[in-house]
């Protein structure tokens, strides 16, 4: 600009070529200047070309810049020049420059956006920048310096900045910045923000050795996504303060991070990133006095991944997180009367209180308690979980007892290994069930009102890859006999179509009590049986090989009521054959039987029925005997359909249970 003063006023055309002009804020290279001033005119035309313009230390560079303006004398012996500025193939901008002995002023604008610059001769190291409705894209070069992968997509900002460019001191930019509707995204789309607004005081200092940025203010609305973390900012302002330092080309250090979202979340801490922009270390203290808004504002991304996007969180918590060398080193979570509730009722924990501490290194102890809970409709009572953690695993330091349905479950030697890298979580434990009221369990599971006490020991259970395997087995006393469960496997316990596998052995059940509960009519005697390869998917049987047979005992009467005969016939698609005329059956309330045996092998929705193996062959080759009668009148029940559609069979069983089947006497 000093060059202009040299241009002689009398000349019609003056030209100059300068290889390089260096100022404190910017350097211009390959510069050409041409001034045309018609004789006796009030104004001349100034044209300036620059092959390259760059700002030292800020990576700002423009190519092929051209400015053509109308040059006039101004008050106080100054000059003023207004005209269009074009850089490369960009849209033209309007640049007005005015200077006199005291001040230099420049206003650059396009559309509504303007950047006004002002510098006084008295303070040559201080430049004020007044930016109004400037598209954030204009600040792309600044963003690229701090975060090379990111680009601005939308938004505008206002700023009143002071740029200090003292010799031998850092370049410093300070002042308030207001963001409106800002959108940004990284090249790989892993981090993105939209509609972000806010007002911040910024302080940016640059020396060749290091850069320091401090941002302090409020975020006002918008949303952003970083990996799986989705943050939907509330309408209320969120206080944000970040101090960041970058030494040379090293990664950024954030010695101070503050996030203040009212009662929902307050976080303070520090972080450091590697050269590759990966998190290297983190120390964060988080406090939430009211967890209710957390899910919607901060956790929806993560919960959604685990199919738990609708989980309600209530209560208050404190959390301390420590990351060292890119690995989680410690987590201390302290819960204050927290409720976790799955709206699908898969799980509920109420009144969680206490702490859970995880350590990748030295031993730490913690204790978590809850008041009550529910797992798939099964209520359990208050319990205390004594945790210990060291070297990256979490375990119980002593057995934990959870009261359940009148009895209790003891967890022994529980060890939790959290997910690491590609390996998912791995949980190992032993279980002891004591005296659980099977009647209440039946009721909770929607089964008939079986009465019994369930107990057993599972020495080793292991959860990994969404599957729980149980060694050992459970057994219970039921209807004066015993039922034993072995080979228990639970797949996808909280995921898609939970599946349970088991082998069940039934020994010596009192048939009278069983049939009374089932509303099946009356059968006296004892029943043995097995259900092998039982598989429930979504708690519905899809496969099993079941076989039940009566067990004759000395002194135990074996009688079957007429209603039970009708029901067996109906369910088994069977007919009865008797020594009596059909109509005479109605005269008897019950019949003596020798044996009853029935089997069903369920595969692909079809039950392959079978009966007593030693039954005498009847007239149809494919038939099988279910009830073999004894005495007079002698009555046999024989099935003819070996292949029965399972849903139909279930419908019939349900009808029998609800008493909808009326005895029909032929």
């Amino acid at each position: 600009m000093a060059l202009l003063a040299l241009a002689p006023a009398q000349a019609r055309v003056a030209q100059a070529r300068i290889a390089r002009i260096t100022t404190a804020a910017a350097t211009l290279e390959q510069v050409r200047v041409r001034l045309h001033w018609p004789a006796d005119a009030d104004a001349g035309t100034l044209e300036l070309w620059a092959g390259r313009v760059h700002a030292p230390g800020m990576d700002i560079a423009y190519q092929d810049m051209h400015w053509r303006c109308s040059l006039q004398r101004s008050a106080r012996n100054g000059w003023r020049c207004v005209g269009d500025l074009v850089s490369g193939r960009g849209k033209p901008m309007r640049l007005a420059v005015e200077f006199d002995a005291a001040d230099t002023r420049a206003v650059l604008g396009r559309g509504n956006g303007t950047i006004a610059l002002r510098r006084s001769a008295a303070t040559p190291d201080l430049t004020s920048l007044d930016l109004t409705q400037v598209p954030v894209a204009w600040a792309q070069v600044l963003l690229a310096r701090a975060w090379p992968d990111a680009r601005f997509n939308s938004g505008t900002f206002d700023a009143k900045l002071k740029v200090e460019t003292p010799a031998k001191r850092p370049l410093r930019i300070t002042g308030p910045v207001t963001l409106r509707n800002v959108g940004l995204e990284t090249a790989d789309a892993s981090v993105a923000g939209e509609h972000l607004g806010g007002r911040f005081a910024i302080d940016y200092r640059i020396t060749p050795a290091r850069s320091l940025i401090s941002v302090d203010g409020d975020l006002r609305g918008g949303e952003f996504l970083a990996g799986n973390t989705y943050v939907a900012l509330p309408a209320t302002p969120i206080g944000l303060r970040i101090d960041a330092v970058q030494a040379g080309n090293q990664g950024w250090d954030l010695p101070r991070i503050e996030w203040r979202d009212g009662a929902a979340l307050r976080a303070e801490g520090s972080a450091a990133f590697g050269v590759d922009a990966n998190l290297r270390s983190l120390d964060l203290s988080v406090h939430s006095a009211d967890m209710a808004p957390l899910r919607q504002r901060y956790l929806s991304g993560w919960l959604g991944l685990f199919g738990m996007g609708a989980t309600d969180l209530l209560g208050a918590m404190d959390l301390r997180l420590q990351v060292r060398n890119g690995r989680l080193a410690a987590v201390d979570a302290t819960l204050h009367d927290v409720d976790i509730r799955d709206p699908q009722q898969r799980f509920v924990f109420d009144g969680l209180e206490g702490d859970v501490r995880y350590s990748a290194g030295a031993l730490v102890d913690s204790t978590l308690r809850w008041q009550a809970g529910k797992l798939y409709g099964l209520d359990f009572d208050a319990a205390r979980l004594p945790f210990a953690s060291e070297n990256g695993t979490l375990r119980f330091r002593e057995d934990a007892r959870v009261p359940l349905l009148g009895g209790s479950i003891h967890f022994r030697n529980l060890v939790i290994r959290p997910p690491q890298g590609d390996a998912g979580a791995d949980i190992r434990f032993g279980l002891v069930l004591e005296d659980i009221d099977f009647g209440r369990l039946s009721k909770a599971l929607g089964l008939p009102a079986f009465q019994g006490r369930l107990s057993g020991t599972i020495p080793n259970a292991r959860y990994a890859n969404e599957r729980v395997d149980f060694d050992g087995g459970l057994s219970m006393q039921l209807f004066d006999g015993r039922v034993a469960f072995t080979s228990l496997v639970l797949e996808r316990p909280f995921g898609t179509a939970p599946s349970l596998g088991a082998d069940i052995a039934v020994d010596d059940l009192d048939l009278l009590r069983l049939t009374e509960v089932l509303g099946f009519g009356k059968i006296t005697g004892r029943l043995d049986g097995r259900i092998d390869g039982l598989r429930l998917v979504d708690w519905t049987p899809v496969a099993f090989n079941a076989r039940f047979i009566t067990d004759a005992r000395r002194g135990v009467k074996q009688r079957i009521s007429q209603r039970a005969v009708q029901n067996i016939s109906s369910v088994g698609d069977a007919s009865f054959i008797t020594s009596l005329q059909g109509r005479l059956i109605g005269l008897f309330d019950d019949f003596a039987y020798r044996r009853i045996g029935i089997g069903c092998r369920l595969v692909n929705e079809v039950c392959a029925m079978s009966g007593l193996t030693d039954s005498q062959p009847s007239q149809a080759g494919n038939s099988f005997t279910i009830v073999s009668g004894a005495g007079v009148p002698r009555l046999h029940v024989v099935g003819f359909n070996r292949q029965v559609d399972w849903p139909t069979l279930v419908e019939r069983l349900a009808a029998v249970g609800s008493g909808e089947v009326k005895p029909i006497v032929e």
Binding site: A189, T496, A497, V537, V542, V644, T648
Partner: protein, 213 residues
């Protein structure tokens, strides 16, 4: 299976058959052709919009339920007439030859859910190029930049849900057919089928990169 084997043997040059027999022995018990057919039926129903109405009307179970039929009556309608029965080998067919069924209630419930998720959410992601079929039978967000930010969270969740369903389907198909050890083979067959049924313009994983169909 008998017909299939015969066709295979008759149509195959002897030398080629000898060369291939080495490979075939690995999967000798796995009914690849039946699995492929089952996978095709499953995948097409999830992906194909136009056939949706027909498929629902053709559901044999609904039809029998409405008529109130039961026992053998409903069974008869579930199976097509098998000409091999005339030769007296119908029972052998049923017992010895593996058939791949995908008609268990659990699988069908998952399929229905996948179908509605595909039409509601995922199809748009495939059309825009944001999603792709992976080579292991799952789906993945291959280019999140193709999605509006507001849709990205929902899409991530839908992809996670769908992958859970997919894993469950592969497992359940194997287990429902009495061979849990087939799970990985079933998964491979489905992985190929998803790609093969993909519409033109959709992306799929090939080797280490993505290809557009």
């Amino acid at each position: 299976m008998g017909t299939l084997l015969q066709k295979r043997w008759m149509g195959m040059p002897v030398v080629g058959a000898l060369l291939l027999s080495a490979c075939v022995t690995i999967n000798v018990y796995f009914p690849a052709a039946e699995a492929k057919e089952a996978a095709r039926e499953f995948v097409e129903k999830v992906i194909d919009e136009s056939d949706k109405v027909n498929m629902k009307d053709a559901n044999p179970k609904d039809a029998t339920r409405k008529q109130g039929g039961g026992g053998m009556a409903s069974l008869d309608r579930r199976f097509d007439f098998d000409p091999w029965i005339l030769l007296g080998i119908g029972s052998a067919h049923a017992q010895g030859a593996p058939d791949i069924t995908i008609k268990t209630p659990a699988i069908q419930a998952i399929q229905a859910r996948m179908e509605s998720r595909f039409n509601g959410t995922l199809r748009g992601g495939f059309d825009s190029g944001a999603l792709g079929f992976t080579s292991d039978g799952l789906i993945s967000v291959r280019d999140a930049g193709k999605l509006e930010l507001k849709d990205r969270v929902g899409m991530n969740g839908a992809v996670a849900d769908d992958n859970r369903d997919r894993k469950a389907v592969y497992r359940e198909v194997a287990v429902a057919n009495g061979h849990p050890e087939w799970e990985s083979q079933i998964r491979e067959v489905f992985a190929k089928q998803w790609i093969s049924s993909a519409r033109s313009g959709w992306w799929y994983q090939s080797g280490s990169g993505w290809k557009q169909k």
